[in-house]
């Protein structure tokens, strides 16, 4: 039963809804989400556009011939090989450290946890050159006549500074901090109840970690390796200071770009930059594929 009140300002009866308990009538309106998507998409696309434009500019600047010339240089091939090996070594080492450290920070309260938590972030916030300088000082600081680098080189037979181990260590110092953050978040998101129940079933803490927590963290571990590898690939400052940029010896692709630029080979530097972009994309895709498999 509709009353004459259903007609308001000449609006058709079908456009009017009576709310039960209110005794008032409201006009049905169609509200569009267009503005929401326009604003959100517009802001998001600024960043995406910036990256796409940068890559497009690189591609337009260089030519396939420049790329080919750069790739056939013996120095670049050596840098490529060292980059692949050092990034992989740094990423694997980061995972080995980040998994237990992330777990301890996520699961246990212990004296000085806040300090450990803060120390882990230092390589992230420290200027890269300062990190390299700190590594250099650490290895060459005389302590009562004893020096770490001298001991490693003369007694252990494994010198670090200005050699390939310095490249790996410089990359590891930064990569590991990012990997620890990733693993901390991963374990924070895993419910510890399953590990508690595993302990009542007979697991020691170590068994609960290996059999219950680690399998659940597989996706986070893949993410940690990815982040660590990508960070290692982009590392430049600490490598330059701690390992130097000696061609065919401690040169990685990030230092190659710098060296090519410093001798005026701009085309070669851009070609190398594109190579690094491609390497990063391939590694990210492979690891994402492996990550999907691990959680399937």
């Amino acid at each position: 039963m509709e009353s004459n009140d259903s007609m308001v300002d000449g609006t058709a009866r079908d456009d009017i809804k009576r709310y039960p308990n209110e005794g008032t009538k409201q006009r049905l309106t169609h509200r569009s989400d267009f503005v929401f998507f326009l604003v959100m998409g517009g802001l998001s696309s600024c960043f995406i556009l910036l990256i796409v434009l940068m890559l497009a500019a690189d591609v337009m600047f260089t030519s396939f011939q420049d790329f080919k010339v750069a790739m056939f240089k013996a120095e670049i091939q050596a840098a490529f090989k060292l980059t692949m090996l050092s990034c992989t070594a740094a990423a694997v080492m980061s995972l080995w450290v980040a998994t237990p450290l992330g777990y301890l920070l996520a699961r246990y309260s212990f004296p000085g946890r806040w300090l450990v938590d803060t120390l882990v972030d230092i390589p992230i916030v420290l200027p890269p050159l300062v990190l390299g300088l700190s590594l250099l000082i650490l290895f060459h600081l005389p302590v009562f006549g004893w020096e770490l680098e001298n001991w490693l080189r003369d007694d252990v037979g494994f010198g670090v500074t200005y050699r390939w181990p310095a490249v790996v260590l410089a990359q590891f110092s930064v990569s590991c901090a990012f990997a620890v953050r990733t693993m901390r978040v991963t374990f924070d998101q895993i419910d510890p109840r399953a590990e508690d129940v595993a302990r009542t079933l007979g697991c020691t803490r170590a068994q609960a970690f290996w059999k219950i927590a680690v399998p659940q963290a597989s996706r986070g571990m893949i993410a940690a390796v990815t982040v660590a590898w990508a960070r290692a690939l982009g590392e430049f400052g600490p490598i330059l200071v701690f390992a130097g940029a000696t061609r065919m010896k401690t040169e990685v692709l990030s230092t190659s770009v710098f060296l090519e630029l410093s001798i005026g080979e701009l085309n070669s530097a851009v070609a190398l930059s594109l190579l690094m972009v491609m390497m990063a994309v391939v590694v990210l895709l492979v690891l994402r594929y492996l990550g999907a498999g691990a959680t399937a």
Partner: protein
């Protein structure tokens, strides 16, 4: 048997003081009490997951107060079940047996026996993510019973089940208890659980005291 002697448990700022309870061997005991009163804290202290500040926890004549959870031989079914997301049903039932290095043949036989008792044989190769509430409950129960524990602790095991599944689970719990004669402590809010299952009943009062209900 399960015996608590003047146990005090601390859980953050919450404290349970001077708890004493005794459940005879083979009995099915039910513990009732309001939400948030500390029933789960009590059961976790029996498991060893919460540290006992003072007092003693005895299981079948052994003082296990300072034993780690892994050494107490307690089957525990928590309220949230806490199934292992990366394992399938068969692996859940075999988990505790593998830890004890039981032979492969005995594990296969025990898993088969448990699955038949619990009616989950058809689920053995399924992952736990897709299981219904009742099925998950049975898997958690099977996991807790797999190693023939000294005692069984159930934390509101029927709270998330519909009436029909609840009645099926009553029958199952009775069957399991009769077959295994395992001493059981079951936490609940539901009077029907007491009426159907309990040999003896305790109520936790607001002051943390445990009272035997006749």
């Amino acid at each position: 048997m399960i015996e608590l002697r003047n146990v005090t448990v601390q859980a953050g700022k919450f404290q349970l003081r001077n708890l004493s309870i005794e459940v005879d061997a083979g009995q099915y005991a039910v513990l009732m009490g309001r939400t948030g009163i500390g029933k789960t804290t009590l059961i976790e202290s029996i498991c060893g997951l919460r540290k006992v500040v003072c007092g003693q926890v005895w299981i079948h004549g052994t003082d296990v107060t300072h034993y780690s959870p892994s050494d107490r031989e307690i089957g525990y079914v928590p309220q949230d079940l806490a199934l292992f997301p990366t394992l399938n049903v068969r692996e859940h039932l075999a988990f505790a047996l593998r830890l004890r290095r039981v032979s492969r043949e005995r594990i296969v036989a025990r898993v088969k026996e448990l699955a038949e008792t619990l009616g989950i044989t058809h689920l053995l190769d399924r992952h736990v993510q897709g299981l219904s509430g009742g099925e998950s409950q049975r898997v958690a129960l099977g996991r807790a019973l797999s190693f023939e524990p000294a005692i069984l602790l159930l934390d509101e095991p029927l709270s998330a089940l519909d009436d029909a599944t609840r009645r099926e689970t009553y029958a199952l719990l009775k069957k399991v208890q009769k077959a295994s004669q395992v001493t059981t402590l079951h936490i609940t809010h539901n009077q029907e659980d007491v009426d159907v299952l309990a040999d003896c009943c305790f109520r936790m009062e607001a002051n943390g005291m445990l009272v035997t209900v006749s």
